[in-house]
Amino acid sequence: MRSAVLLPTVNAEDWLTEHPRQALVKVPAQMAVTELEDQIATIDDQLNAERLESAQAKQLTLLQRDRAQLVESLAQVRYAQNLISGMP
């Protein structure tokens, strides 16, 4: 179901899906997490628009690359959050 360009982030996305956010959050760290989440959601929205309006391969590739990096970072930050709280 996923496109080939999404493959590099599959592991990170799977991990994020399997590990929902914790009920207890440290506010500064969670602010960073929500910022990354919102950026990813915005890029996904833009990808929808690009595919519908122009589907320029270069633009899609750049957005997918940005998304992959943000997802990877989000997973790392969330993983660190879990480690710090003793729930990896």
């Binding site: 996305e13 207890l24 969670q30 960073a32 990813i40 996904d44 595919r51 930050v77 480690l83």
Partner: protein
């Protein structure tokens, strides 16, 4: 998972090696095991290093994200669902197929998953090869923080979900688009401060040390309220907002936090100089707290202050831009 683990493990090993080097034993190898208090202290230091590394990752990634947002040019929607739709004119699906959900996004939080086929949005059918376009076009008139009913086909069965779309980050960027002291192209410290991931002397620093927890039904009964988020630890600056451990935040300037992450999103949207009004439940009694985020000062000079286009304090129409 393996990639994340290996990257972080590498970082941890570096940290552990550094710790080992810092605390190289001078006693013979036959010395009894390190007292647990020492190990606990080392663990605390390691966790601090890990937290700092995670903050660095978040900050650098966010700066990268700012570059990515420059590519967000087609403003087709104002509120995002947090999903990617399959665009295939030859598709035989009777709706818009979700080919991916944004981690932590509105769709994911509502329970939508990859492979779901959206057949209706707010009661209006989305059908045929134009279904993805119908979804996108209908979202153009949806405001952040409003409820959207999404009906999907999953495993041959119809399911309905309530999704709360959020404002696009680009909306935030418009609010913060005046160049900072670093000039055009440099990360805007006002933006970073607002998101609490920049240098720790900004607005975000006011929330340092603060911990929030979701209010489960059991906790709600104990604290005398069924809604809000529990303050587990107040910010290090105990004077700020004058919160107390055990307070339940029920609303932030009229917005009800659905969980601790949502509360964080709301708090993240404030700028220096803006006033925060909280309604809290303390010892089962309602209470209102008001405080103003200080105009911060940076080392080496005055803070950037309100730039052109910045909202005046308090000028925040509910939901626009909304931190949902």
């Amino acid at each position: 998972m393996l990639k994340i683990s290996s990257l972080l493990l590498a970082g941890l090993l570096v940290g552990a090696n550094a710790l080992a080097a810092d605390s190289a034993p001078s006693a013979p190898a036959t010395t009894p095991a390190t007292p647990s208090t020492d190990i606990e202290a080392q663990l605390a230091v390691a966790r601090q290093k890990l937290e700092a590394a995670a903050r660095d990752v978040a900050q650098l990634s966010s700066q990268l994200g700012q570059s990515a947002m420059a590519r967000v040019q087609i403003m087709s929607t104002r509120a995002v669902l947090g999903l990617q739709l399959q665009v295939d004119p030859s598709s035989k699906e009777q709706g818009a197929t979700i080919m991916g959900v944004s981690p932590g996004g509105p769709a994911a939080e509502a329970g939508l998953v990859t492979g779901d086929v959206i057949v209706a949005l707010n009661g209006e059918a989305t059908t045929g090869p134009n279904a993805p376009r119908q979804v996108v076009e209908r979202m153009a008139s949806v405001k952040p923080d409003s409820k959207v009913t999404v009906k999907v086909m999953r495993d041959g069965k119809l399911k309905e979900f309530q999704v709360t779309p959020r404002a696009r980050v680009a909306d935030f960027f418009r609010a913060f688009n005046d160049p900072g002291p670093g000039g055009p192209g440099a990360p805007n410290p006002r933006f970073l401060d607002a998101f609490a991931i920049g240098p720790r002397d900004g607005v975000g620093a006011m929330f340092d040390g603060m911990e929030l927890a979701d209010l489960s039904p059991g906790l709600g009964q104990y604290f005398g309220t069924g809604k809000g988020v529990l303050v587990v630890r107040v910010p290090h600056d105990g004077e700020f907002l004058k919160l107390q451990d055990g307070d339940v935040i029920q609303s932030i300037d009229g917005r009800t936090p659905e969980n601790s992450s949502h509360a964080t999103r709301i708090l993240r949207s404030y700028q220096a100089g803006e006033t925060i009004h909280l309604k809290v439940m303390r010892q089962k009694k309602p209470l209102e707290l008001v405080d103003t985020l200080p105009q911060h000062r940076r080392a080496g000079g005055p803070g950037p202050g309100p730039g052109p286009g910045a909202r005046p304090p308090g000028d925040r129409p509910p939901g626009d831009p909304d931190p949902q």
